[in-house]
Symmetry: C2
Subunit: 351 residues, 2 copies
């Protein structure tokens, strides 16, 4: 006898960073920004005309698309907005990768990619990064149904330049190439200047990291009109209104405050560089980071042990129990005060 | 030669009600609530502590799940929350309908169902409603991979009682049965009391209609734990954080204000019943509505012509150019003032 239970979804979901069930701890495990969003964002929400919420939001979040396009020197028709960049990425996989051929991405990268492929039944091929965790552009010269490169990459924190993306694009004129740039504002090099040359390039960014708006769920894709139209068709086949009216106004306010954006990003970069040098003094191998997190391993202490010790000090960092990176920690750059606490705790542990 | 263009998504998306590119018109085409959300919702947004937006929202919107569960006399583990009920429905199709057998639903119903089936490659079988547009429970006694019933149904506005849903559930112990209750608060009969008896029942509701929060994107599913867990797995395989932190607080505020909810719903029902009787006086055939809209046809005037005339008076109603219903209009119940304008315009046209 078949049962309704037999027909339920059977899939291994993405596992996010641990959310401890308490409030007083230092959370360096989800790559969140430690600073609040721009005061203009706060003002936009707290003065939002909520009586209008009885109406549906703009289906394409056009006011926000226009604001982003204006900042990037593009047209609003080149911008697609979704409910965080995870939503945009999931729609992009569905909209762009329909060839039946394997999509290529690095073996060490954002761990949601295989989940989306599995969900959407998209075949994929993992391309190993080199022993220093660098993505090699020459490895992406093979038949494929699409390419996605997280740049700067996570959890490695390593960023690559425009020549690298150009090499991948030149090798793949018949596939859509996605540049997942969630962390690019912290010192990475964006592929945005290549959009005019490559109609098969999609650049995906988020307001969750550099704009301190993880709680508001805004991500976007910048691309040529054909790719944007495919994303809109995918969205309109799933959920017509993914971005709410408050998020649209709050996002516009964030874009309007470029000074605040630069200042907080600059502050995080400064703290990151200080943490990098402190960790290296303690003997850690730390990759040069182009992100708001560090990827670090210690030759004498095991990553899960360090992570477990830090938890006893109410400090949460990210450890991935996965091949190749199971002795590394991913440490989000918090405030200077948080990072001082982290350094203090590590000095206790690492003699 | 294959091109990246060949691999883009190819699908006919859901088409929402027209959004005229002007501001001064009467919008009765999207089943929106004409009244603002509760003053408590407005207060919750305008006093929201937006500095916390740098952190991700609660992945399962637990505070809101708890509030809804409390109102419905359920546990928070029986509630799944998504980015509007379209998001919840799309995830439910993916989470529940994996048998490979056809999912059953009426030929006249919410037109997003075939879009989701097409998107997710779920086979489906349309079951004709009778000539008065009634769904017949006995038609759902056949092999299937799931059943979805919009009750009250859209665009017909017809609601059915608990015996009807029980008959469908009794005939389908081996399938998940979804009750899509987007409009139930306007006088329909909810299947919620059946949840304890039927672990294969999922009841899906929205804050977009009766709670005046279409712009905030909140929908939910109430069901047994096994179905809720399947929905969470589907969500965590797509976008871990679909509901933002502002929406969670605003939703809680709406649930807290039961008086306002009852008052505005009551006002809409009163206006609806007045409009029904006025339309019937003009010769319209109007179904008895259990929703915030009417489904009406006129024996002498064609629906597209009436709709076109109303547009010249800046009044937008919904016309579906589809078999069986292409002489019907779906008219959202607005404020009394808006409905007076509608009645005035119709009286001009229908002599």
């Amino acid at each position: 006898m078949s049962s309704w239970k037999d027909n339920l979804i059977d899939i291994a979901p993405y596992v996010a960073g641990e959310q401890p069930n308490k409030t007083d701890f230092i959370k360096l495990n989800a790559n969140e920004n430690p600073y609040p969003p721009s005061p203009r964002v706060i003002e936009a929400i707290n003065s939002f005309k909520a009586s209008g919420l009885c109406k549906y939001p703009d289906a394409n979040a056009v006011p926000l698309a226009r604001a982003i396009a204006g900042r990037l020197g593009l047209s609003e028709e080149n911008i697609f907005i979704g409910n965080g960049s995870d939503d945009v990425l999931a729609l992009a996989f569905r909209a762009f990768f329909n060839s039946g051929k394997p999509v290529l991405y690095p073996d060490i990268t954002y761990s949601f990619y295989p989940v989306w492929c599995s969900m959407l039944k998209i075949p994929y091929e993992l391309i190993p990064v080199d022993e220093d965790f660098n993505i090699r552009a020459e490895d992406y010269r093979r038949e494929n149904g699409g390419v996605i490169i997280c740049n700067p990459n996570a959890p490695t924190s390593i960023g690559r330049g425009l020549d690298f993306m150009r090499e991948i694009l030149d090798a793949n004129p018949d596939s859509v190439v996605i540049a997942d740039e969630a962390y690019v504002d912290f010192g990475g090099v964006s592929a945005l200047p290549l959009l005019k040359e490559y109609p098969n390039l999609a650049v995906i960014q988020t307001f969750s990291k550099s704009r301190s708006m993880a709680g508001m769920r805004i991500g976007f894709c910048a691309a040529g009109k054909e790719l944007i139209n495919a994303l809109r068709a995918a969205k309109d086949s799933y959920n017509s209104y993914p971005v709410d009216s408050v998020a649209i106004e709050a996002g516009c306010a964030s874009i309007a405050d470029e000074d605040y954006f630069r200042e907080t990003v600059g502050r995080i970069i400064k703290t990151r560089d200080r943490l990098t040098s402190e960790l290296r003094k303690m003997g850690f191998d730390v990759k040069d980071s182009s992100t708001n997190f560090l990827f670090a391993a210690h030759p004498k202490y095991k990553a899960p042990d360090i992570s477990a010790f830090l938890k006893t000090r109410d400090i949460y960092v990210r450890f991935f129990n996965k091949p190749r990176i199971d002795n590394h920690l991913r440490i989000t750059v918090g405030t200077d005060e948080e990072i001082d606490m982290l350094i203090g705790a590590l000095k206790e542990y690492i003699k």
